[in-house]
Symmetry: C2
Subunit: 240 residues, 2 copies
Amino acid sequence: MTRSIAIIPVEGVGEVRPGDVLAELLLATPAGAALQDGDVVVVTQKIVSKAEGRLEAVPSDVPEALAHKAIVERESVRVLRRRGDLVISETAHGFVCANAGVDLSNVEQGWVALLPLDSDRSARRIRDALRARRPELARVGVIVSDTFGRPWRMGLTDVAIGCAGVAAVIDLRGSVDAQGRELQVTEVAVADELASAAELVMGKSSGVPAAIVRGVDPSWLRDGSVRDEIVRPPAEDLFR
Amino acid sequence: MTRSIAIIPVEGVGEVRPGDVLAELLLATPAGAALQDGDVVVVTQKIVSKAEGRLEAVPSDVPEALAHKAIVERESVRVLRRRGDLVISETAHGFVCANAGVDLSNVEQGWVALLPLDSDRSARRIRDALRARRPELARVGVIVSDTFGRPWRMGLTDVAIGCAGVAAVIDLRGSVDAQGRELQVTEVAVADELASAAELVMGKSSGVPAAIVRGVDPSWLRDGSVRDEIVRPPAEDLFR
C-alpha cells in the first residue's frame, strides 16, 4: 500500500528581514505549528536569501539594466549563452541558470537578492533550528528551492538548490521491474520533484514562501546534499 | 487561503495490454472510483504506450544492444550528443531526451515500448473516455508523464509529454509581487510540476502507473497542450 502525499502551503510567514530566524517564522504559522516528524519543509530561496542578508543595493548612478548585468556577470563563473538581456551562466555552486540565480523581483526597489552562499548549509541551518525548537522533529527534511528554466522546454519549474535531512537523489539500482528485469531508470532526483510539488501551492505572487510535504517515503529521510548529489560535474556533462 | 494538494497513488491497474481502455482500468481501481471533478490524473507513458500497442519486437538475429541502437536512431530526428551507449536526441514530437524516449525496461523481454505518436492526443483520449463513463467529471485533467534526464543536473525527474483539460504552462505576466513590481518569473510549467509531484507516489518498481492530483488551482483546468506550450521551438532554443 503506497501512501498519499499532501502538499500544504505555509501562509502567514510575513515579510522576512536580514537576521530573521526562518525556523521561528515558519513554526509561528498555523501550518508550521502543525509540522510533524517525517515532513519535508520546502523553503523558497527568496526568503532564505533575505534572512541571510544576501541582498545587494543596485548602484543608482548607472542605468538599472546595466547595474543588474554587472552583478550577474560577477556572480557567474562561466557564461554558457547570451541572448539580448538574458544570460545563462554557471554559478560558484555549479548551478546553471538564468542571471546566475540573481533575483531581481520580489525584492524592494533598488535591491537584488543573491543566492545563498552555500544552500545545502542554509537548509541544514533551518533544519537544525527547527529541531532545536521542536525536538520531536527528529527526521524532518528541509529543501531550499528556486525557480529555474530548462533547455528544450518552455516554462520554469522549481528545483532544489539545497537540502538537509532528505535525499537529493535516490538510487533504484538493483531494483527489478514487474518482469524481473533490472531497472534502466535508476536515479530519481526526488529533491527536485519535491521542490516542484511544493511550487504547486505557492504561486509566485500569493505570499506563500514555503510548503510542507507530508507522507514521503521514510527511506528518503537521510543526509542529503544538492551539491554532492545533483550538481553534475562538468567533466561528466554533455552540455557544458 | 491557499488549498492543500493531495497526491494519491492509483494502485491495482494490473498488467496493461494493447487495446485496453485505460480510462476503464483506472476507474476500476479504488482510487479511480473515487475520482472527483477538478482532479488531474497523471498516467505514465509506459502504460499509455502499452495500451496503444506502441510495442516493438527487438530483432533477435543481432546483439540486443545493436538492435536497441537501431530503433533509437530511427526514432530520432536529430542526435544532440552521444557518449558510449547513451544517445541524447530529439524525437518527432520535439522532445529532447535519452534514447529518443524508447523504453527498454518494464516491457517483456525482447520488446521495447515507443513513445505515443501524439501524446497530447493520448491524454485527450483518456480524458474523453473518463468523461464518457463519468459525466460528472466535466473538468478533469489528464497528463501523460515520462521520466527524463536534464543537462547540468544529476538524476531524473518526471515531466509531462502530453496533457488535456489542464494547462501545460501558466502565464503570470501582469501579476505583481508583494512590492507591486511586475513579476520577472512569468511562465510556470505546471504540467511538468504535476508530473514530478505524481512521481513521488509512484516509484519505479512499485506497480503504481498513475496518480491523482487533487486540489489544483481551478484556473489551470483549461485546454492545454505540451506540444504547443512546452516544446521549445528550435529557433528559440539556445541549446540546440
